[in-house]
């Protein structure tokens, strides 16, 4: 029997992969993809919790998370394009200072 612990361990692994990607990759696109990875780990926890508790609220939450993830990807990629147009790079080492 696959218990919720298995899903939790898998989700933790995915989330840590995403954290490592956000922290140590220097390409802004890779950072955004790692964020998607972290969001998916959370989705997995929600769905497995929904099954454990016999309650569909978790699955509804997944829809809202997917909505937020789609918005985040759209706006984030627009920002990546704007940054690339202005500075010619998407390397976070060169994009460390916030200025208008």
């Amino acid at each position: 029997m696959v218990s919720i612990d298995h899903y939790l361990v898998l989700a933790t692994f995915m989330f840590l992969c995403g954290t490592l990607g956000v922290l140590f990759r220097r390409n802004l696109l890779m950072v955004l993809m790692s964020i998607e990875l972290m969001l998916n780990a959370v989705n997995l926890v929600f769905v497995s919790g929904s099954r454990l508790l016999g309650n569909l609220d978790g699955q509804v939450m997944v829809f809202f998370i997917i909505t937020v993830a789609a918005c985040e990807a759209g706006v984030g990629l627009a920002m990546v394009i704007a940054l690339f147009r202005r500075y010619g790079t998407v390397d976070t080492n060169f994009l460390r200072v916030l200025r208008g």
Binding site: R26, N27, C71, A73
Partner: protein, 183 residues
Amino acid sequence: MTQELVFLAFASLIAICSMMVILSRNAVVSAIFLVGDLFCLAGLYASMEAHFVAAIQVLVYAGAIVVLFMFVIMLLNLGPDQRKHLEVSAPEIGVLGLTIVGFLVIGGLLLLGQPTGVTGPLTAEAIDNAGGNTYTVGMVLFTKYLWPFELASMLILLAIIAAIVIAKKEHIKDGDKRRLAHG
């Protein structure tokens, strides 16, 4: 027995794909592995009888979001990452440490509290009797979560406007235009 096999297959694929997403030097390869990751997650959702979530996962995540990533990767036309070794700074190590500590705390709390095995009213059989997963999720979404659903539509509208405004071509100032005209 089949469920264990399905879980093992998808879980190992997810682990491999997640690592490849953050390890590969080329952004296109990362995006391809992200698609694999999302498909395997959809398979896990289907094995947990969350069929509608599985379908949406494939349609929206693998079908729309990753395609958007692919378009931007092709638009920017970046080469592979040339760095030979990892650069780390103290704040990043601190954040990573805090994340791991947080996970350990959560895991400890989960181990302390005995899993009660509480089952709510909507077990797999009850959902089947009520008309299937899609029907019941729809009922919950459009009754209990109606206002959050409407707010989500507002969020999407705002995101559309924001993406258009941010990605729009920068306005060329008059001085620059004159300089461009003079060559």
